[in-house]
Symmetry: C2
Subunit: 327 residues, 2 copies
Amino acid sequence: MLTNRQENILKLIVTEYIKLAKPVGSKLLCERLNCSSATVRNEMQILEEMGLLEKTHTSSGRIPSEAGYRYYVDNLMELKELNGEEVFKLQTIFRNTQLELSDVLSKSLELISDITSYTSVVLDKKSHDNKLKEISIVPVSENLVVVIIVTDQGYVEHKNIEITGISLEEVRKTVKLINDLIVGTPIDEVSAKLEFEIKPIIGKYVKQHEMLYNAFYDVFNDISSKNVNVVGKNNILKHQEFQALDKVEEIFSKLDDKEMMQSIEEKNNDINIYIGHENKMDPDVTVIKTNYKTNKDTGTIAIIGPKRMEYDKVVNLLDYIKKQIER
Amino acid sequence: MLTNRQENILKLIVTEYIKLAKPVGSKLLCERLNCSSATVRNEMQILEEMGLLEKTHTSSGRIPSEAGYRYYVDNLMELKELNGEEVFKLQTIFRNTQLELSDVLSKSLELISDITSYTSVVLDKKSHDNKLKEISIVPVSENLVVVIIVTDQGYVEHKNIEITGISLEEVRKTVKLINDLIVGTPIDEVSAKLEFEIKPIIGKYVKQHEMLYNAFYDVFNDISSKNVNVVGKNNILKHQEFQALDKVEEIFSKLDDKEMMQSIEEKNNDINIYIGHENKMDPDVTVIKTNYKTNKDTGTIAIIGPKRMEYDKVVNLLDYIKKQIER
DNA sequence: AGATAGCACTCTAATTTCTTGATTGCTAAA
DNA sequence: TTTAGCAATCAAGAAATTAGAGTGCTATCT
């Protein structure tokens, strides 16, 4: 258990280090607290033994360890009010009824990336509550048709299929079959239905049914897949912890890795903070994320920055955005 | 006019510098040519006076100036055969008939970015020869309809429009009107037709016609706009000329700037090389680009790298890709 | 007249040394 | 329990040193 003074010291070290990016020494601290530098040093030593602080070298000031950040975030952090100008800018995005949800999300996260100089990620999975509304085809030439599917929430996906060896009539039949049998099915379940209900039937009367089946399978697959949008990637370059080019490259390639990014999906509805090794992405970053859920959509929004991150601000912003989009 | 020996020296300096990234001195050169280092030095001095070579400091070896690269590219460069493995990998992409052109392009440029460690860009403008094939709507809920347009080349664009204050019937009428009046029109000309032929008519019998008109205008605008795809951005980090983080940031932000990237569009059918200040993007890069034209599509593919670029290889690859996609 | 050898000169880059100042840990006194 | 004081540590920067690569110039050679 930490004494009051120890908590004050830890809190000051975390906030000062976040602000100035330099190890915090006893001199600075004893100005803020009413005690001598020696006292502070003794306390710091105790905090270091507890694993909450670290030194960069024997005679340096202290920086927070991951456990130190964790203690700060869990017990000491105060959430301040959002800055009025920032709220205003965000409001103008949310008030714009012209925009689709995905645009609102990417625009607001762009803004947040600008404000904070961190990187943000939106991960949305459209299938959630979507049901197949309609599937239609448009023949555009001799052997090319466009297949278009629309969900009951207004999402659209399309694919061009080449129909060499298949008559347009056969395609139409298949589309009619799908429309008759599986319209109304949740997108997540369409693949299964397609395989077990449609495939056997079209197999009977369409010669090259494999090709046709695959095309439909693909387009349904596309719409139910997760969509990743990474915003403000270049902000990585702004932080002194990422000055080494190979570190930058490592993080960039992770940010570009769709699989990796999809794995940040968050089920939990709170604002969740994963500091350093607590996240799977990179031990040198902190990921703050939350799940959102609207009537149309569900997904995850995340902010990625150095461990030396403005936790209070980011938590606030994320919370604000989450609440705004959930209505 | 350069003597034979001068040309040999220039060529060696360019190729060696491209290979080793270090200023080339007289010692190395006199091993390759049969003459003493003093002779080489005299020649280098002449080449420097002509503006083809530069020094990084008074007693350094020489590096090519922009004019030096230009002379090399115009007069000295030899195009070697493509590496068999590379051709093979490219062929597997081109042979895959399942892929759409845009996928073929992005996949092959991904491969090229991997091979060369440069950054590639595809800029395609779908409208080129596309004509409006069909416009359709799918009502998905009380006051939301999805508008879908398809071109005769199989491109699809869609938009959700909210129809508060407009009846579904009115929307249908408008769609029918468009289908009757402007199907078959080249996409580039649709906007004009929409404004001068459709707008006046719907203005008469649809109350909130502005909203409707804008929605259609947007979706046509989207499909006729240029599409930019930047591949292998992280490769920028691999070159020693881009070690300074602020330089990296500058280039990254240019690569992210859609306007900037759209401006690299190339009309010319040759392989065009823009070295340093010759391109508008950044004085420290070279852009090699060409226009491509298929029966469906037209666009530009470009490779961006440091001025110290493997010109011969890139020109070859680009030429190969251009020829492949043009059939 | 063009090519070459030789030499003094220049400059980078790497290594070393020195200095400064911030900060610590420890001890003894308050 | 707190504080004052002091020796020890270390980073970071400045200055000095060295080694090596390369140049320009000049006198000589073919």
